[in-house]
């Protein structure tokens, strides 16, 4: 049961404010914003998603640079409220096409319409984009998407996940000419967490995957989605870290998975198909987790050596282990260097293009950006560090670890596949556009020194 819901801009302005129960004083938005901005209880750490000030509990999630906040005085389930805030953000995005300060400001009346139905007297009524359609009468006012942060099917869930392509269409808005384009997107998004030891061994690895659906189909046809049949769920033996199977073949073993409310699993055990009914808007139909061994897309070798009294040399090598038909984007490699580093000079291999190198003085970190990496290629960065004082102890304890972020479209590490996507036909000519897209991204991709 929540008392208030509001959306604040990055500067702390109220964009939407709804008081459902009148139990929390009106100044709550300011109290919240000040608390988050000056969160210093634990040094420079950021404010946790839930905190209590004077008996009022504040919940928040950050989405598209906005704070979605709920307050309550009651000891509610935090997981429920946080999930609700995410859903509200997603429903708003479904209706507005884009989620941004501008789109919310232009459409706040529509947002109030939604909020009025989503929550009544603090109790959740519905968060289904489909159900809400019949209660929304305002037409969304479109905002141009190009000068916004790209927001894709995945970005709505997690700021750190980058989209394949951006869909900025509202579920209620009509295309030019008043016709809606019938289409459906299925995205298989995999986030990788890998830690390499200093000698290049994989210490831990995990794939967190989501099958995300975004549907613009009218009339709610049934959708059937088949995964590869060699998918199996659950690993034997309590420990999930027994690397046994060989690479590249054999079954895809999911440690565990969960499904969206609307998914029916009647045939899942038999032929690995998922059936969905009401499907408007964007939502994950299945989340899964894999700790089975897989081939990491990149190998990272990093070496840091003292090269004089006040000097050290860094070499970072990145090798792309995927086929040459695949190209990774938006690669960033970072390495924290000792705090007394004053100067860094970089040296790239001759003939490299599209690379950027930078020494972030403020947080003592070197950053190496690569626009693209083609499968099979290898890239090297040399950097010379200059220190203000003599090294104390071992340099590998003062620098590192190397971390890497990337996006690899049309690649998935787990080999989980959508074999087919079947849509119940309304008529013979009914043939909506179907898009099945794969993307692999880094969640935490780290090599220790």
């Amino acid at each position: 049961m929540i008392s208030q819901f509001f959306v604040l801009s990055q500067r702390g302005d109220n964009i939407v404010f709804r008081d459902y129960r009148g139990e929390v004083a009106k100044g709550s938005a300011e109290i919240f914003f000040r608390k988050v901005k000056f969160w210093k209880e634990d040094g420079e750490g950021e404010a946790p998603p839930v905190f209590n000030v004077d008996g009022v509990n504040y919940f928040h999630v950050k989405e598209a640079g906005l704070f979605f906040v709920a307050t309550t005085r009651v000891n509610v389930s935090p997981s429920l409220v946080l999930e609700l805030l995410r859903r509200i953000a997603r429903v708003i995005k479904d209706y507005l096409g884009v989620l941004s300060e501008e789109s919310l400001r232009k459409n706040f009346v529509l947002v109030y319409e939604l909020l009025d139905q989503v929550i009544d007297f603090g109790f959740v009524q519905t968060t289904s984009t489909e159900v809400l359609k019949s209660y929304v009468f305002n037409e969304p006012i479109a905002v141009a998407a190009d000068h916004l942060q790209p927001l894709g099917p995945a970005a709505i869930f997690m700021a750190k996940r980058m989209p394949v392509t951006t869909i900025t269409k509202s579920v209620v808005a009509n295309e030019r000419g008043g016709r809606k384009r019938e289409e459906i997107f299925v995205d298989i998004i995999e986030n990788l967490s890998v830690t390499f030891s200093s000698s290049g061994y994989i210490l831990t690895s995990e794939i967190d995957g989501t099958i995300q659906l975004k549907s613009y189909l009218t009339g709610n046809p049934d959708i059937r989605l088949a995964l590869n049949e060699e998918v199996s769920i659950g690993r034997d033996g309590g420990s999930t870290y027994d690397y046994g199977s060989s690479l590249g073949s054999g079954p895809v073993i999911l440690d565990d998975c969960n499904f969206h409310e609307s998914v029916r699993l009647n045939n899942f055990d038999v032929d690995r198909t998922l059936t969905l009914g009401s499907t408007d808007g964007e939502f994950p139909i299945m989340n899964y987790r894999i700790t089975q061994e897989f081939k990491p897309p990149f190998r990272i070798n990093a070496l840091v050596e003292e090269s004089g009294r006040l000097k050290a040399e860094v070499t970072i090598k990145v090798h792309a282990e995927f086929p040459s038909s695949i190209i990774a984007d938006k690669i960033m490699v970072q390495l924290p260097v000792p705090p007394y580093t004053t100067k860094v000079s970089f040296e790239l291999e001759p003939g490299t293009v599209g690379n950027t190198t930078d020494f972030k003085e403020a947080n003592k970190r070197i950053e190496w950006g690569l626009k693209k990496i083609v499968g099979g290629s290898e890239h090297t960065l040399h950097a010379k560090l200059t220190f203000a004082q003599e090294l104390r102890g071992n340099i590998t304890k003062e620098a590192g670890p190397v971390s890497m972020t990337f996006t690899i479209p049309m690649y998935n590490a787990s080999r989980l596949q959508v074999k087919y996507l079947h849509i119940t036909k309304k008529s013979k000519s009914y043939n909506p556009y179907r898009w099945v897209r794969y993307v692999t991204q880094s969640n935490s991709y780290v090599a220790r020194l």
Binding site: D13, Y112, N287
Partner: protein, 843 residues
């Protein structure tokens, strides 16, 4: 929407601050009010939007209330909705104007379009104006019977809104009964869910005053209602499922078959993508299996994978909420998670509040087989750029060392930390080495060698400096330079800002003096002189104390300062097990995230469903019992916080009215029936003192066939134990004592059948025990499980006994835990208690 916000925001050009705009809008609205011109609705929409946007940013637009209402006579639903929103916001502060809206809202409640009916009813109930409630009853009654489920859904919530405006109007109109009817009969699950929410809130606010209310509440938890809801659970929305599951968690099944049926039915809820549903399901599983140890453990195994999936698949916020719950479970049963330790490794990009939880989990699951790997991983974090986390990691290594696994390897790691020469690493490591030495003095040689190399100049943090100084004092005979380092520190007395460090320095110099007098004598003199001149009271007092002690007798001083040391076996746990259990009972709530029971951060009236649950099923520690025994002594009834309210005071930042609301329950014996109080003497003597009255009472007991333990052997009897019939202990003191004292006796007793029969409510036993000078401070429970906290005092002196007594009437067993100020008196007290208990239910 508070006016003060304006000044803050006026700086932003997009957000006008003022009156000019509002007056402008007002004038324009007035012009449009009666207009039927084409396009008027569009212009109205624009103006309404402006008003709503002012309202949102905190500009007071209540002055256009009249105009808004006038303009709302329209068929345009977008306009209507904006108007409803506006009215809902300002009606409360403009009750007179709110009356203007009643008319059109009531009319809309009868509209042909169910959506208009629903919206109007919702707005009508949201006015929050007390003198308008009479207008609500009719539309609400009609709404509850509407043939459209949307209207009924709104009406169910409307009843709750009405209850908050005027509880009596709501109850008099018999709305709760109508809700109950809908709850059990409505085909629409959201209507059912809203009825459930409304009823739970209404009945918990009604309090435990009337029997009818408590009966109604029990009906909600009856088998038929629970099964009815459970069987339809898949039809409910995911949010409503959470509501139902929360209720089911309070249900007490009659046997284990029922428990398994419920769990099998809910098994697939664990695969839900919504973490709230999964956690609510887990709560049901955990609560149902509490008394079945092995099944309970299986539940832990079963929920591991879904929890881990939620942690890694959800949004960062959701993952934090779930991780907090996983943290709680790991802390309760670390051994179940010990093979999953890799899941608790920190990722470099996680926020520090997540890392902190993970570090604690890693610490908890460390055992013989994984310690090496965990400590290796933790050591990686010690070099982390995130300094607070680096510190936490080092502390984690230390904690693992203190858990006794593979101390050998860990000591080496800690010593390596000292060699890393990072200030904060050294600081944390020093504190840990100190604690380690207190527990494992045998490591002193290795540690001292390394610590001796640390220059005190490089250690600045008071805690670390104090630790270093403590080691210098404690091991001055083994550290060659100790007296000279201490001397240097004494010379810089003036520059030492921390009183803690100066206190430690005084003590260390004293210790060093007794071990190496010639080398320390000068610095001791200097330290004492500096200490005596110190402006800090504690430092001054300690210096003076040492000075006088030395003057009085040097050998006594040595015994005071350098007594033989005992290794510390267990460091005090920061959280009492009662608090941990309380948090566990509040699974799937904020208590878990904050790691505090709800009473520490929530006002009583806002405790939500848990308050409700406590009153019904669980132990409500309430002096309501005392109320009935001693009516003269009014203690705020029915508060479950009594026992724990003051613990961890420093954490109770929330103004907590409960602790102050209590007066110590001083029992007045005059209100207790006299015969029983006299009887208490007889009972006490009966099992203890072999004197004249004793034997007679014994005879009587035997005649009555009380089944007392065999006659005690007369020879080695303990001295007679008399209890003070007028003993007084306030709840705070009880609680403090309960936390401080160790358990001196823990025993199971059987209860005779008469006692079981008599124990229908906790009160009956309270009265009985009070007759034996054993007073109850808190009690609760429902058949078959009752829980009591008793206390008693010796007749002479103030030595107190504390008792926790858990009675299970179905097994006729009582579990007793006794804590005593005077441990030696535990045995006699225990027999007094037992004999008193055994007389329960006797005529």
């Amino acid at each position: 929407m508070a006016p003060p916000a304006i000044s803050q925001r006026s700086s932003s050009p997009s957000q006008p601050s003022g009156k000019g705009e509002v007056a402008d809008v007002k004038a324009q609205l007035r012009l449009l009010a009666g207009s039927r011109a084409p396009g008027a609705d569009d212009s109205k929409r624009e103006l309404f939007k402006k008003v709503i946007s002012y309202m949102t940013i905190g500009i007071d637009v209540s002055s256009v209330f009249g105009e808004m209402v006038m303009c709302s006579a329209t068929s345009d639903i977008v306009l209507k909705k904006m108007c409803y929103l506006y009215v809902g916001n300002y009606a409360k502060v403009n009750p007179d104007l709110a009356l203007l809206t009643i008319n059109f809202l009531q009319r809309d409640c009868k509209d042909a379009d169910p959506m208009i009916r629903g919206l109007a009813l919702r707005s009508l109930c949201s006015l929050r104006v007390t003198n308008l409630v009479e207008y609500l009853v009719g539309p609400l009654g009609a709404g509850l019977k509407d043939n459209n489920s949307y209207v009924r859904m709104v009406a169910a919530m409307g009843v709750l809104k009405l209850y908050h405006i005027s509880a009596s109007t709501c109850v008099d109109a018999d709305f709760p009964a109508m809700l109950k009817h809908l709850l059990l009969n409505d085909p629409d699950t959201q209507v059912v869910a809203n009825c459930l929410s409304a009823l739970q809130e209404i009945w918990s606010l009604e309090g435990s005053s009337s029997e009818e209310v408590s009966r109604e509440r029990e009906i909600l938890l009856s088998k038929s209602v629970i099964y009815y809801l459970l069987n339809r659970i898949r039809e409910f929305s995911e949010w409503a499922q959470c509501l139902v599951l929360e209720l089911v968690a309070k249900y007490v099944p009659s046997d284990s078959n029922e428990i398994f049926d419920v769990m099998n039915l809910l098994e697939d809820r664990l695969q839900h993508a919504n973490g709230a549903v999964v956690l609510a399901t887990i709560k049901v599983f955990l609560q149902l299996t509490l008394s079945m140890t092995d099944v309970h453990q299986q539940v832990y195994e079963r929920i591991k994978a879904p929890l881990l999936t939620l942690v890694s698949s959800g949004s960062p916020e959701q993952s934090y909420a779930v991780l907090s719950h996983l943290h709680l479970l790991v802390m309760r049963a670390p051994f179940i998670f010990s093979s999953d330790y890799k899941h608790f490794y920190c990722q470099y990009n996680e926020p520090s509040y997540v890392k902190k939880l993970k570090l604690e989990m890693l610490t908890a699951v460390a055992n013989e087989s994984n310690t090496y790997e965990i400590v290796t991983e933790l050591c990686e974090y010690a070099a982390n750029v995130d300094i607070p986390i680096a510190r936490e990691s080092i502390r984690a290594v230390g904690k693992i060392a203190l858990q006794q696994y593979d101390v050998n390897a860990i000591v080496d790691r800690l010593l390596q930390f000292l060699e890393m020469e990072k200030d904060y690493v050294t600081a944390e490591a020093l504190v840990l080495v100190k604690d380690l030495l207190r527990k494992y003095p045998q490591w002193s040689q290795d540690c001292i060698a390394v610590v001796g190399n640390i220059s005190s100049n490089n250690v600045q943090e008071p805690k670390a400096k104090a630790a270093l100084i403590w080691m210098l004092g404690e091991y001055s005979q083994d550290m060659h330079d100790a007296p000279y380092i201490l001397e240097g520190l004494v010379e810089n007395w003036e520059d030492e800002h921390s009183a803690e460090v100066r206190l430690h320095l005084l003590t260390a110099v004293m210790k060093c003096f007794f071990k190496r007098p010639p080398e320390t004598q000068n610095s001791l003199g200097a330290a004492l002189a500096a200490g005596l001149a110190d402006f800090h009271q504690d430092v001054h007092d300690r210096a003076l104390f040492y000075y006088r002690l030395l003057q009085y007798d040097i050998s006594v001083a040595e015994r005071v300062v350098n007594p033989p040391k005992q290794a510390v076996s267990v460091f005090a746990d920061t959280q009492s097990s009662e608090i941990k259990d309380r948090i566990f009972d509040e699974f799937n709530s904020l208590s878990v995230v904050y790691q505090k029971p709800s009473y520490m951060f929530t006002h009583k009236e806002h405790r939500g469903p848990f308050e409700f649950s406590d009153e019904i099923g669980h132990v409500s520690i309430g002096t309501e019992s005392a109320d009935t025994v001693v009516p003269a002594n009014r203690v705020e009834a029915n508060d479950k916080d009594l026992l724990l309210s003051t613990s961890e005071k420093e954490e109770t930042k929330v103004p907590n009215n409960n602790s102050s609301a209590y007066s110590a329950p001083s029992y007045d014996l005059t209100s207790v029936s006299v015969p029983t109080s006299q009887l208490s003497d007889l009972v006490i003597s009966n099992s203890t003192v072999p004197d004249a009255p004793q034997s007679s009472s014994f005879a009587i007991d035997d005649l009555l066939g009380l089944g007392l333990p065999a006659a005690p052997a007369p020879a080695p009897l303990p001295p007679p134990l008399k209890l003070n019939p007028k003993a007084v202990l306030d709840p705070t003191a009880f609680q403090q004592k309960w936390r401080q004292l160790p358990i001196s006796l823990s025993q199971d007793y059987s209860i005779n059948p008469q006692g079981v029969a008599a124990l229908t409510t906790p009160q009956s036993l309270l009265k009985h025990m009070q007759g034996h000078s054993i007073h109850c401070i808190a009690s609760g429970g429902k058949s078959p499980n009752f829980k009591f906290f008793f206390f008693a005092q010796k007749a002479e002196g103030s030595s107190t006994f504390l008792v926790e007594c858990i009675v299970n009437t179905s097994s006729a067993k009582a579990q007793i835990k006794i804590k005593a100020d005077d441990q030696s008196a535990t045995e006699p007290f225990s027999s007094v208690f037992q004999s008193a208990l055994s007389k329960f239910g006797m005529p």
